[in-house]
Structure formats: structure tokens, C-alpha cells
Symmetry: C2
Subunit: 235 residues, 2 copies
């Protein structure tokens, strides 16, 4: 693991926004930044309200525009919205996400009882999470180009506590663009996708690496169960 600290030769140059970070001691860090990393899960909502109909309702304090965005697309008032409706709802507040990103978001924020739909509680959690990712995007898009380049992505992930090895980021970014990783530019939707994949997989791995040694022992079952949710969302 000691080699990891030297992997980014000029780390102080590329991570200027995180001077408060401790020196790299492992590939990923515990979160020490002031801003909490965006959550991929709605499990941090402690006040889940369930209406008399059995459907969850919005958590207390949910901003009105979030509620309105949900209700605008939930035309049949079923209390759940599908992927197309979610795409439409998020377009008004954030970005026109492609369906692949929408499916990843749905998978990460799904209601356990309605795997192909999102209810008010999940929607509020997702909206809040995307708001945090947007803040990070704007903070690290230093030239205000509306795009994040590979170094900005690395800095952004570092800023929220994920010191991702260059080789891993290269592998991820090799799937974008025309094959030249250096020239890749991520719009907000791809940035969210990359961020959620890195954060999601890293958090899953950390759960198994409780002492933060940088390695973990996994059963085959656990490995597959960790990984499959992040794979392609199928048609």
C-alpha cells in the first residue's frame, strides 16, 4: 500500500481544495472533508413517513419544489413514478439524464417493495443527493466549461474523501470519449454516473475493510452481490 502515496506525483497541485486531508494512507480515505459525500442511499432518512394508504410520503421539510416536481409527473397519483417519469422530473430540476443514468439512479435509490419505481421518500433522497453532486460539479468545474476533465474528476472525488488510484480512474474513463482518456470531458450526467459508481463500489468495499487496510476478504457471493447492482441497467 505504501506505493499509493506516490501514485499522484503532484497531488498537492491537483487537490488544492482538500488541504485539510490527511496524507494518503490508503487508496481511499475516510471522509474528513467538511462537506459530507453525497449519499447513494435513502437509508439516512430517519423519518420515513408512511401514509395510511401504505405508501411513503415526503419526509418533513422536503422543499415544495421537490414535491411539485414529483407530483407533476405522477399523473395517476399512484405514489410511484417510473423511469421515464423520473427522467422528466429530474430534467426540470437538474439535467436531462440519459436513461442509462436514470436506471442506475433508480437501482441505487429504489424502493425495496417497488424495484422499478421511485416513491416520494426515495425521490426526496435522490433529489438531495443530486443537489450535492451538482455543488461538487460546480466547485470543481474551475473554468466553468460545464464539463469536468479527468483531473477535475480526480480532484472532486478526492475532495469528498475518495483518493482513487490513477489506474482505476483511467479504466473508468476509458469507456468515455474516443479512446483518449486525457481528452475525456464529462457533462453533469456522466459525472454523476462516474461519481456514483466510484463512491458506491468503494463504500461497498470499505464495508468489508473495516480497519481500512486497503484490502478485504470477500466471499464469492458477497463479491457478486456487491458488483452486479452497478452493472449495465438492462432494457
Amino acid at each position: 500500500m505504501s506505493s499509493s502515496s506516490g501514485r499522484y506525483g503532484s497531488q498537492s497541485q491537483y487537490a488544492p481544495s482538500a488541504p485539510q486531508q490527511p496524507p494518503y494512507s490508503s487508496y481511499y480515505q475516510t471522509s474528513t472533508s467538511n462537506a459530507p459525500p453525497p449519499s447513494n442511499s435513502s437509508s439516512n432518512y430517519n423519518y420515513a413517513n408512511v401514509s395510511s394508504s401504505g405508501y411513503s410520503t415526503f419526509p418533513p421539510g422536503t422543499p415544495q419544489d421537490v414535491i411539485t416536481s414529483f407530483q407533476m409527473v405522477d399523473r395517476d397519483r399512484s405514489g410511484f413514478i417510473d423511469e421515464r417519469e423520473l427522467q422528466q422530473a429530474l430534467s426540470s430540476g437538474f439535467h436531462h439524464f440519459n436513461l442509462r443514468t436514470i436506471r442506475l439512479l433508480m437501482f441505487l435509490f429504489k424502493n425495496p417493495h417497488q424495484p422499478l419505481a421511485v416513491g416520494p421518500k426515495e425521490f426526496a433522497a435522490l433529489w438531495s443527493c443530486l443537489g450535492q453532486w451538482r455543488g461538487i460539479f460546480e466547485r470543481y468545474d474551475k473554468d466553468r466549461s460545464g464539463k469536468i476533465d479527468p483531473l477535475e474528476l480526480r480532484d472532486a472525488l478526492y475532495g469528498i474523501g475518495y483518493a482513487v488510484p490513477g489506474s482505476v480512474l483511467q479504466l473508468l474513463l476509458s469507456k468515455y470519449g474516443d479512446g483518449s482518456v486525457r481528452r475525456v470531458e464529462l457533462g453533469f450526467d456522466s459525472f454523476v454516473e462516474c461519481g456514483m459508481i466510484i463512491k458506491g463500489l468503494t463504500d461497498k468495499f470499505k464495508e468489508k475493510d473495516t480497519r481500512y487496510t486497503g484490502s478485504a476478504t470477500l466471499s464469492y457471493d458477497a463479491f457478486m452481490t456487491m458488483v452486479l447492482p452497478f452493472l449495465v441497467s438492462y432494457d
Copy 2:
């Protein structure tokens, strides 16, 4: 691990084609079936020919129809074909794969020097591999419906040496269809996609579990590097 043997209560009923298999001793098995499992990699081609131009050529013995299929789409005679050309070439011999599957195939069979293109050697390996998957598909599509259902998929994977836990298959299949895993029906392209994902991830895991104990110790780097290639192929 002992619980794995009982996970499929009626395994002899659902895996009638594999009576020669030893009892489950781990979640995955070493390959003991007569038919070799399809390879995801061209590395088993020992006789890579490289022409004087530096491009690889077809391995000796490559069937003429494979060569013709490649040459038909390689109109500029560059010696490499891109994803659209690969899609077109495979349509003639196999199936009209969707671009997502094509990208997964390209990623698994890519030429290390041309990550977004496939050369003759990779194409021949891919064609041969798909031929093997087609044979398996036809063998396990017992009712000749042209579709593989979840139990047939499980049997097919078992038949080539992968005893995948039901929970893992459920998670994979939950991304197909309308949410009801039991009703999922996989066409050949989705079958290939599922098969390559299971085989690819399992093989990667087995490389780290050399004594076949059913668990492995992975560094964070190794974990991410194993997993990312199977993730979404991006636009």
C-alpha cells in the same frame, strides 16, 4: 460455504444435463464438463500472426466465412473494425446484438493497442466464442422457444461449470424484464451478455481464489480493476 450445496434444493432436477458434475463444493466449480466453457479472451490463441504491416492477421485455420464477414465490413482495409462494423459483421453470422452488448464484447476482446477497434485475431476469437455460446443456448433452450428462462440459464451456466447461487442470478435477472424475475426471457444477445458477465466476473474472482475456497482477499485496486470492465459501456 457448506450452505451452498443446499441452496438449490432440487438441483438434480434443474441440472439434468450435468450428472457428471461433482457435488457442489463451492459456489463455483472448476470446469469438469466435457465442453470447454466459452472463452472471454483471445489469449488462448497461441498462434498470433502479425503481418509485416504490424497488424495481426487471422490465425491459421480460421474459417473462410469468418474472414469474409470481417472483410465485408472493413471497407477501408484498415485491418480494424469499429463497434458499428462489428455489429454489422456479427449480424450476418449470429444475431443483431444491441450496441451495449457489442461494447461489452469489444471491451472483453479488445486489441490492447487499439482499444476501440477489433482486429482479425480478436474477431476470430470472438466469433469462435459466440459459436460456443450459441451451442449452449440451443442446448438449453429445450422448448426451442428462442428464449432462455431463468431456470434454463441456471442450468446452462451449471453445465459449463458455474454453479451460480440463486440469489446472484436473481440480482442479475432483476435488471431484465418488468421486474418479475421468474417471467424473464432472455434472447440470444441478453443470454450472451449474462453469460459473459457471470463467467467473466467469476473467472476474475477465481484467479484470486486459487485454492477454490469460495473466498478471496482483494486489494481495493484489484477489486476496482476487476469490476470496472464489466460496467456500463459508455457512449
